[in-house]
Amino acid sequence: MNESLARPRTFRSPCHRLPPLVALFLSVAAITVGMLLPPGHWPSHGALLCVLFAALSLARVPPGVVLRRLVAFLAFAVLFAVSVPLSQGFRGGWELAQGILFRGVESFLSGLWLMSVVPFDRLLAALRRLGVPAILLAILAFMYRFLFVLWNELDTMRAARRARTFDRAGLIFRWRNAAQMIGMLLIRSLGRSERVYGAMCARGWDGTLRTLDE
């Protein structure tokens, strides 16, 4: 999963040629339409879902990927949506639950489409043009860059833990172990941020992010 997220797809499709701002606008528009449709109206929500699936196939997102992520999303979305009727003893709240489910899936699909069409750095550039403060975008870019580094570090730590066969241990021990893993990750990542900061200063970092396309 890390790999597919780290390297944006390089397929050529009409969707990929869209300017990032247009893609962002289309994605937001789809979610807005979903919000405005009546919650339990099956035909209109069905039509919107068809449009979204068509857009995903136009963007050449592999159906297997869509299906896998949709199932993972639905597992939680259904749980949350059903909690409304559940709290009523299944005597009401069904319409609201339908609306939550429809809108959640629409929002999920349109987010998936946006991410597979626009690489993250181009999305950040588009957001900068919309006037989002530069410091926020710089933090986002930095976080995105090191997210994958820390994931790999976490994988290494997990492998080391598995090698010590701690998975067989009791619940309390495993909790302590997991917490120590997070603590170790925290200590290492703060140390890393100090080193990276030093390296950035050595290269003339003054608090503003510069990109090549400016």
């Binding site: 997220l5 937001v28 979610i31 979903g34 919000m35 919650p39 999303f73 909690s83 409304v84 559940l86 709290s87 009523q88 003893g89 009401g92 609201l96 939550i100 809108r103 959640g104 629409e106 929002s107 987010g111 998936l112 403060p133 410091i135 710089a138 933090i139 986002l140 930095f142 976080m143 995105y144 090191f146 997210l147 580094v149 820390l150 994931w151 976490l154 619940l171 495993r174 909790w175 302590r176 997991a178 917490a179 120590q180 893993m181 997070i182 603590g183 170790m184 990750l185 925290l186 200590i187 990542s189 703060l190 890393r192 941020s193 990276v196 900061y197 200063c201 003054d206 608090g207 992010l209």
Partner: protein, 326 residues
């Protein structure tokens, strides 16, 4: 914890978005003063760390497993403002990479986890730690209390938003309130446990990271008054969470009853449940009161026990034992 699109009405989305944007804007403003070049790597790295830390599973012995939320942790390491930004970044990336949480409810999610979690959590920790002579014990007890209170307060705030979003519907808001608060006081115990365990590990290895001020929290700490105010809001939300199901048992005409009468009504509704014992609690309509009071009592007890246990664990004697073992 993430609120999906579809839960909240557009008006509530706009209102929560505006509040969240104001909080994020204020955080940026506070950090702009002198440390802005340090903010980017430190905040970005901490945000990435919290994101990765959320991937670590805490087994529950069930098919589902728990994980860290991290708002209080971010607030404790980075201070309130950079912590708020770090959690906001985590939420934004989760939205765009995983479609976790809605787009229009991003403001609500930032409000729940970054603002309450990080700013509120920082305020609570910094107040609680003053009551203890040993700084390590104070920080750990503070982290337990803050983690639990912020999770419960966030769930109460969500219920309030939900209520404002759907003033009329074919459902009873009290039941949703009770279910949410009961579930989240358990989630809060998990978060308190994880946060305290992480904090005590870091305190043992690198106490300076938490006890010393990091460069983002040094010049930009909160004033005493705003600390008390922020912590007060969080605590008030929690109290509201546990009183709301009782209070709403009152008739509409009694909405203006005084506090004293409110409490007598509270006792009455609790008594009514026990007299009605043969009914199935889930469907009888009285279950909200009981489940919420059980959740409140169990949650408070757990938090007290956790605070005691972790507080003991960092006292000098047992630390020597730990060191000997390693």
């Amino acid at each position: 914890m993430h609120v999906q699109d579809g839960y909240l009405s557009p008006e509530v989305c706009i209102a929560t978005g505006a509040i969240a944007a104001a909080a994020v804007g204020y955080s940026v403003y506070k950090l702009r003063d002198g440390v802005s070049d340090r903010v980017v790597p430190l905040t970005g790295m901490t945000a990435a760390m919290i994101f990765a830390g959320q991937m670590v599973n805490f087994p529950l012995g069930l098919p589902v497993s728990g994980h860290l939320i991290g708002g209080v942790l971010a607030g404790m390491i980075l201070g309130p403002w950079a912590g708020c930004l770090a959690v906001t970044m985590v939420l934004i990336v989760q939205r765009f990479l995983f479609s976790d949480g809605g787009l229009f409810t991003l403001g609500a999610n930032i409000l729940h986890m970054a603002d309450i979690g990080s700013i509120g959590g920082y305020a609570i920790v910094s107040i609680v730690r003053r009551f203890f002579k040993k700084p390590k014990v104070g920080v750990i007890v503070g982290s337990v209390v803050a983690a639990w209170l912020t999770v419960v307060a966030a769930s109460a705030l969500f219920c309030l938003e939900f209520r404002l979003s759907h003033p009329a519907g074919d459902f009873d808001i009290r039941n949703i309130f009770a279910l949410m608060v009961a579930i989240h006081s358990l989630i809060g115990v998990g978060e308190a446990l994880i946060t305290a365990a992480v904090v005590s590990f870091v305190l043992a290895q690198r106490p300076d990271l938490i006890l010393g001020q990091t460069s983002t929290s040094a010049d930009t700490a909160m004033a005493g008054v705003s600390r008390v105010t922020v912590a007060g809001v969080v605590v008030a939300l929690c109290i509201g969470a546990f009183l709301a199901p009782f209070k709403s048992n009152l008739d509409d005409g009694l909405e203006h009853v005084s506090k004293v009468q409110g409490f007598s009504e509270l006792a009455h509704s609790a008594w009514a449940f026990f007299s009605d014992y043969d009914a199935i609690p889930l469907f009888s309509g009285h279950w909200q009161g009981l489940s919420v009071s059980v959740a409140g009592v169990v949650g408070t007890l757990c938090v007290l026990l956790l605070a005691l246990a972790f507080g003991r664990a960092v006292s000098p004697r047992s630390k020597a034992v730990e060191a000997g073992r390693e």
